[in-house]
């Protein structure tokens, strides 16, 4: 009897070998692969080389969304500018907001920088708090657990595999975090400025202090008045590190660097956003290598 059950389990796991999982960004996609292994087909919708707020809603993404059993999104308003019409036109009941195959990762993360009042007069602010939590390596286990629970819910036959993969991954990640924290503990200079508030979760985790942004308001291009103010602030507080992302113009950062003697560091906002950040660990290693001075 037992043999039969085992055989059936084996067979059914072979028949239902794969869940199609779409993730909006790369980091979540890789965590999903870690948990799902061969049982999931992961498609990342948003290219990590572009601004995550403005992924081009190419119609080819509709085909990808249409075939998905599960859509894992970042949430917190990050996909507001591109994903809703795609979900509407993909004609896939499984991944509609509220359906079983829809996972908003921001519901599991403690959001920081939640504004007490919101107005477009302050620019294109994130009304639900800062959604760029992927830069914090401590968020990875949170993601992994949420993904494991969701995969087990959608594919209960393989829940033991997902649990096993999760346990293995969590052990591996916690030892990685120890070495990573040790590396970050060596960093002396903790004063930075950034282009957009992309790195706040990382900065908060490792006790950095951000003295301002190159963009005067969220989503608004730099102005000379604001740039000069920023230069003065940086001089006063001897800020020597400028955190530049991969997708914004780099002229302003270079100009500020010339005036202040600070160094421009291009920091990936997502796994694979730069060449060195090719794996999950290398994503955080690259952030550390480029921020740590």
């Amino acid at each position: 009897m037992r043999k039969i059950i085992l055989l059936t389990c084996l067979l059914s796991s072979m028949v239902f070998a794969s869940l199609n999982v779409d993730t909006t960004y790369s980091t979540m996609g890789t965590v999903t692969k870690k948990i799902g292994g061969d049982l999931v087909n992961v498609t990342v919708l948003g290219s990590p080389k572009y601004d995550p707020h403005f992924i081009v809603p190419k119609p080819s993404l509709l085909a990808k969304l249409h075939r998905a059993d599960l859509l894992i999104m970042n949430g917190g308003g990050l996909e507001l500018g591109w994903l809703p019409p795609l979900i509407r036109s993909a004609n896939n009941a499984k991944i509609q907001n509220g359906a079983k195959g829809f996972l908003d990762m921001s519901h599991f993360v403690h959001m920081i920088d939640v504004p007490s009042s919101v107005s477009r007069g302050f620019g294109d602010v994130h009304a639900q708090g800062n959604p760029h939590y992927s830069t914090d390596p401590y968020v990875i286990p949170v993601m992994a657990k949420a993904i494991e629970a969701k995969l087990a819910e959608l594919d209960p036959e393989n829940s033991l595999v997902y649990k096993e993969n999760l346990d293995k991954f969590l052990t591996e990640w916690s030892s990685y975090l120890k070495t990573f924290d040790a590396k970050m503990a060596m960093c002396k200079d903790k004063n930075v400025v950034q282009y957009h508030e992309l790195f706040n979760y990382f900065l908060k985790r490792y006790e950095y202090k951000s003295f301002g942004n190159i963009e005067p308001l969220p989503g608004i291009s730099p102005s000379s008045k604001h740039t000069i103010e920023l230069i003065n602030t940086m001089k006063k507080n001897s800020v020597k590190i400028i955190l530049q992302d991969v997708y914004h113009e780099k002229k302003t950062a270079k100009f500020i660097a010339d005036k202040t003697g600070a160094k421009v560091s291009v920091i990936p906002h997502d796994e694979k956003a730069v060449k060195d950040a090719d794996t999950l660990k290398n994503f955080y290693n690259t952030i550390a290598d480029r921020i740590c001075q």
């Binding site: 572009y50 119609p59 080819s60 075939r67 509407r88 509609q96 477009r120």
Partner: protein, 403 residues
């Protein structure tokens, strides 16, 4: 800490009298109670801070709303009174044209649009946009659409802009140029194909995006259809898109609209559209978009065969600036042109160029120059020069960006 206290108490107990020990025990107990009370208080406060919503507030269910304002300052080398009686030979007779946007030299307030979107329940979402023109209220669109149908299907019902072709379903303020392509204006007028009806769309379960749709519409559009004794218009289309590498994408479609015109005879309009988009960066792209429309309109004893195209190239330089050119051409005009005898009505075409500046994501200034060679003004073929500065504001809920 607790251990220390007990330990020291124990030491004390051997030294001091029993009564004193009891006293200390009582004090300790009192302290414990006080701590417990504080903890309960803290817990209650925490509970409070997470739930302070008013019992009957429905704010969380408010629909997404946006206000869109569109206006312009315009200069044209034709008098307003003559311009509004324009004709496009074979398509629009003098006095028959409708000019809802940018009609006058000087200032124009084209419309204030109020757009609403709401999720109705787990199965439907509703959209509406109301156009408020200076002297007219119009329901631009109002429809419900399914979200969770099986078999890759989606149904829309209400009044909506048909997905015929590429530009037909888009609103005026999301076009790359302020003016409507001549072939659309000629065949359908400013509202294009926009009717009460139902729509069914299906997405193929393939790796390549393929979508097919059919629509049954009332067919109120008098330029091509207009026999509204019963619903007379049927639209069908297939659209597909492929990516060539990561940054170049191609979207193409073929469409057919089959209806009955005001002479109770059939009209068929065929459309082909092609869009190429090369992404040069997050905020930079090159888009080449073209459409060709062909109309076969049977009349009582003759058949009109007319066609035209537009082709536009738009370069988005960065967040703030973009520019583009468009060419409009009537390619075929087999119809009764006897009313225009003695007037040159060949080679109807138009050239448009624009530069656009977006100081903020929600506002757009666009300067355009148009050289229009499609119109008959006051009985004479007249080349029209037009310079326009338009302003478009979108306040409130974000409309997601167009492809």
């Amino acid at each position: 800490m607790k251990k220390y206290i007990y330990l020291s108490l124990l030491t004390f107990s051997s030294l001091i009298a029993d009564t004193e020990l009891d006293e200390i025990k009582q004090q300790l107990k009192a302290q414990q109670t006080a701590t417990q009370q504080l903890e309960t208080k803290l817990y209650n406060l925490e509970q409070k801070s997470t739930n302070t919503s008013a019992s009957f507030s429905q704010n969380a269910y408010l629909p997404d709303m946006a206000l869109i304002l569109n206006m312009s300052a315009l200069s044209r080398d034709v008098k307003n009174s003559e311009y509004e009686n324009f004709a496009i030979p074979g398509f629009i007779d003098a006095g028959n044209g409708h000019l809802p946007f940018n009609k006058n030299r000087g200032f124009n307030l084209n419309y204030a649009e109020f757009a609403i979107h709401a999720v109705v329940d787990p199965y439907f979402e509703a959209f509406a946009n109301f156009h408020l023109h200076p002297d007219e209220f119009e329901i631009g669109e109002a429809y419900v659409q399914t979200t969770s149908l099986p078999y890759s299907l989606r149904v829309r019902a209400g009044k909506f802009k048909s997905h015929f072709g590429r530009i037909n379903s888009q609103h005026q303020h999301s076009w790359n140029f302020d003016s409507q392509p001549i072939i659309y204006k000629s065949l359908f007028g400013p509202d294009a194909i926009s009717d009460p009806g139902i729509q069914l769309q299906w997405v193929a379960p393939t790796d390549t995006y393929i979508m097919a749709g059919v629509e049954a519409l009332q067919g109120t559009n008098g330029r091509s259809f207009g026999d509204t004794e019963s619903n007379n218009l049927y639209v069908g289309y297939v659209k597909s898109s492929i990516d060539i590498g990561e940054d170049l994408s191609v979207l193409g479609g073929v469409s057919l609209a089959h209806g009955e015109n005001t002479t109770n005879n059939p009209t068929d309009v065929y459309g082909v559209d092609l869009t190429l988009r090369e992404q040069l960066g997050s905020y930079s792209s090159l888009v080449w978009q073209s459409e060709y429309l062909y109309r076969n309109k049977e009349l009582i004893s003759t058949t009109d065969k007319q066609a035209g195209l537009y082709s536009e190239l738009v370069y988005q330089y960065n967040n703030n600036y973009s520019g583009g050119v468009r060419y409009d051409l009537i390619t075929k005009n087999d119809t009764d042109l006897s009313a225009y005898s003695g007037i040159d009505s060949d080679n109807l075409d138009r050239y448009t160029a624009m530069v656009e500046y977006k100081p903020f994501p929600m506002s757009r200034l666009r300067l355009s120059y148009t050289y229009d060679r499609t119109k008959i003004i006051a009985g004479e073929r007249t080349d029209i020069n037009e310079v326009m500065l338009s302003l478009n504001i979108a306040a409130g809920a974000h409309g997601a960006h167009n492809y």
